[in-house]
Subunit: 268 residues, 2 copies
């Protein structure tokens, strides 16, 4: 079983009164560890702070979390750190207890064994029928209400398919079940606006930052399914996989273009 | 602490690998016990079955749940039974494990101590800023992704306010933070359509059933905030409170009308 600390204590049990379990009342992060070092820790911690501010959850200090992460990952070279922060225990009912005691659940997992070809040759993707949940007050942060991602992830069993793309109720492409989506059209890097749905990924921020420094024109806005299928290049990102080019959506083939390769190179 | 059985065993601890905690991957019910008897059990169990079907979660048999509930409530006359069904444990990642083992968390709570005046004199309500989350694949069922209700519930501290009303992104009234909404306009009983958001409450079903037998005209459809404020009568329902008339929304006063009193009487 994976190593786990809850509020600093080694255990795998959480109270049934935990509001994370009762209502999904919390946020989480998954962080890649390579060569013993966490990738983009500052950005992950900043998103935890932002998510907790949005949900009015008291955020633990960086020092406390770092100490617990260090204790868990020890000498592992490659791993995944997952941090869940919940609003802690309460009696029955949605209303937030005062005071609420944030619960820190810090876990260390083995690094997943994705085929190397995904990054080099690209992946096959489908469009999911399950739409993203829309709520402008909750959009962007990585909260624990993830049933839309779960149900979309269940829509395929073909192991050749590595990701599913999710739309909003208006038919705009928002995100993959576990990733953010980018496409390139006539030299412009497009990625969906996430102000009403979706999670603003750490690797999405990083790709946008790199694109800016490379002076690549960027457009963050609505993208329809039809617009996406006309793109010259498509790729997805998340903190654990990094960047995977999209080689196929349903039956349509895409080539791994210059800009995708440039960004892949920069991320290494 | 409240009495709790997890898969039939007395405990208050759940695994950190539980998908209810990780993703809100499950459903729940809260059931009123009066005079030692559960109210509307058949309807609650039917909704559990419907929710589990929607989420492709294996539902426990009625007999198993009834045996566990009986064990917990024993000789208590008034209580609240809460059942949480999660998709059980899994490794990291949204994809549903195969096979997945449903986890049953059955809890017994004291009956809440609401002021009696709420049912007789009506309640004061505000409109919340937090919108409901919209997803037509998840709407109607009582799943564990309840951050919208949690955040809306946090919008007032005045203890004279008993409920907050939540709108969708288009400005339609959908539900209270913990209740369904009805209004009466020129003898017609209106309640919001819940096909894109909200929870279809058991007491909502019961009120609609009674209204049909009383041959009261019913309209289930979109209701704007302005339409609601023009209503002759407004009331809310849920399984624990039953029916509470609305006496005030923000500064506007409503009277407890004939139809509300008729339904209150029928529910007794």
């Amino acid at each position: 079983m994976n190593a786990c600390l809850i509020n600093g204590t080694a255990t795998h049990s959480v109270s049934t009164s935990d509001r994370g379990l009762q209502y999904g009342d919390g946020v989480f992060e998954t962080i890649a560890v390579h060569h013993g070092m966490m990738s983009f820790w500052a950005a992950h911690y900043a998103r935890l702070v932002q998510g907790c501010e949005r949900l009015q959850i008291l955020v633990p200090s960086e020092a406390v979390l770092l100490q617990e992460i260090d204790q868990l990952k020890q000498n592992q070279l490659d791993a995944v750190i997952k941090i869940i922060l919940t609003r802690g225990d309460s009696k029955r009912g949605y209303r937030i207890p005062n005071p609420a005691q944030t619960r820190r659940i810090v876990q260390c997992f083995p690094y997943p064994d994705y085929p190397k070809s995904y990054a080099t040759n690209g992946i096959a993707v489908i469009f999911c029928k399950t739409p993203v949940s829309e709520n402008k007050y909750l959009a962007g942060i990585k909260h624990l209400n993830r049933l839309d991602n779960v149900m979309a992830s269940s829509e395929w069993s073909d192991s050749n398919i590595a990701e599913g793309f999710m739309l909003d109720a208006s038919g705009h492409v928002i995100q993959g079940t576990k990733s953010n989506i980018f496409c390139v059209q006539e030299g412009v890097l497009h990625t969906p606006d996430l102000s009403c749905a979706g999670v603003a990924g750490i690797m999405r921020f990083e790709v946008l930052r790199i694109a800016k420094t490379l002076q690549i024109p960027i457009n963050i806005g609505p993208i329809t399914q039809a617009q996406l299928l006309k793109a010259d290049e498509i790729f997805i990102t998340n903190s654990i996989i990094g960047l995977w080019p999209v080689a196929r959506i349903d039956q349509q083939i895409f080539t791994i273009g210059h800009l995708t390769q440039q960004l892949l190179q920069q991320l290494k």
